[in-house]
């Protein structure tokens, strides 16, 4: 198998630890909401976006109509549009069919691993997507069959994994680069301010676009640190 694929797969393993608790809690909650195990796994396999799936369960429980749920899903996941554009503007030479397949697996975690590792290889992206997809689906299955054989404390404690993975991918990419650190801090603060009056899914999208826009104008150094 291609070495870039394996490299991407391995590089994503820490991020998988962030995905697993999301998959497990989704699986558990889906069963509690009244979905069958098949429906829960089908959703993880086809949608593959944890936060929107949890939102869908919440809305189902409150008896929301299907259009509301579909619209909510769309807006929560709209941020992937910008992430996907950021990924694929390096991958012009990859055939369209492959790009369309690769796009299916673009999620917060695979985007973080791919873009912050300085890799520009499509196989790396697919390797990363595969690792995250498999662990999300497997952990959903686990969640649906798991009643209470893991102590609650351990499940709760795994919730930090998503953030810890993002932080430890981000820090090496920005440390010693003051303008980027300032941009990251500024965007975080902007997002916190926006969330006082906007739902999280909107504020994240707006903050990341506005942050990058301001950075584009203000920051002089090229953002790409070329690594070979």
């Amino acid at each position: 198998m291609n070495k870039h694929f394996i490299y991407g797969f391995k590089a994503s393993l820490p991020a998988c630890m962030g995905v697993i608790p999301v998959g497990i809690s989704f699986g558990l909650l889906a069963i509690q909401t009244g979905l069958t195990a098949f429906e829960a796994c089908f959703m993880s396999a086809t949608v593959m976006a944890g936060s929107s799936q949890l939102l869908a369960l919440g809305l189902l429980q409150q008896g929301a109509g299907f259009p509301t749920i579909v619209l909510g899903t769309f807006f929560i996941n709209l941020r992937h549009l910008v992430m996907s554009a950021s990924v694929f503007h390096h991958l012009l030479n990859i055939p369209l069919v492959y790009r369309m397949l690769g796009a299916f697996g673009v999620c917060d975690e695979s985007f973080a691993v791919y873009s912050l590792s300085g890799q520009r290889s499509f196989q790396f992206l697919v390797g990363s997507n595969t690792a995250l997809y498999v662990s999300f689906l497997a952990s959903t299955i686990l969640g649906t069959v798991m009643t209470d054989f893991l102590p609650q404390v351990v499940i709760h404690s795994f919730n930090i994994a998503f953030y810890a993975a993002l932080i430890s991918l981000l820090i090496p990419a920005i440390k010693n680069r003051l303008p980027l650190m300032a941009l990251v801090l500024g965007t975080a603060i902007l997002n916190a301010l926006l969330q006082t009056f906007l739902p999280g899914s909107w504020s994240i999208l707006i903050a990341m676009v506005m942050g990058a826009f301001v950075g584009m104008i203000v920051i002089d150094e090229p953002a790409e640190k070329e690594r070979t």
Binding site: F38, F66, F88, R99, F104, A164, A192
Partner: protein, 102 residues
Amino acid sequence: MNRSLITLILFMAIVTYIPRALPAVLVGRLKFSEKQKKFLSLIPYTAMAALIFPGILKVDESRPEIGLIGGFVAVILSMLRCPVIVCVGAAILINILLYSFF
């Protein structure tokens, strides 16, 4: 099996896939200016910033310190060049300790 629920899931899958696929499809036909490339290359940093904060405070809605301390551990360890897996493991461990003893 509930057929309307399967339909709902399929619609969710479609509206999630479209934003992911659109740039992948169009990117061959678009020419990005230097400014636009710079904008796109800054997205990873701003996206991570927005995903991490203030969401990390809500890891446990009733105890914001759970997220803060776990995140702090991850920051320190990654500053010390620890591999990602170590940072994640340490953050989980510190949260297990926090839940067990405080």
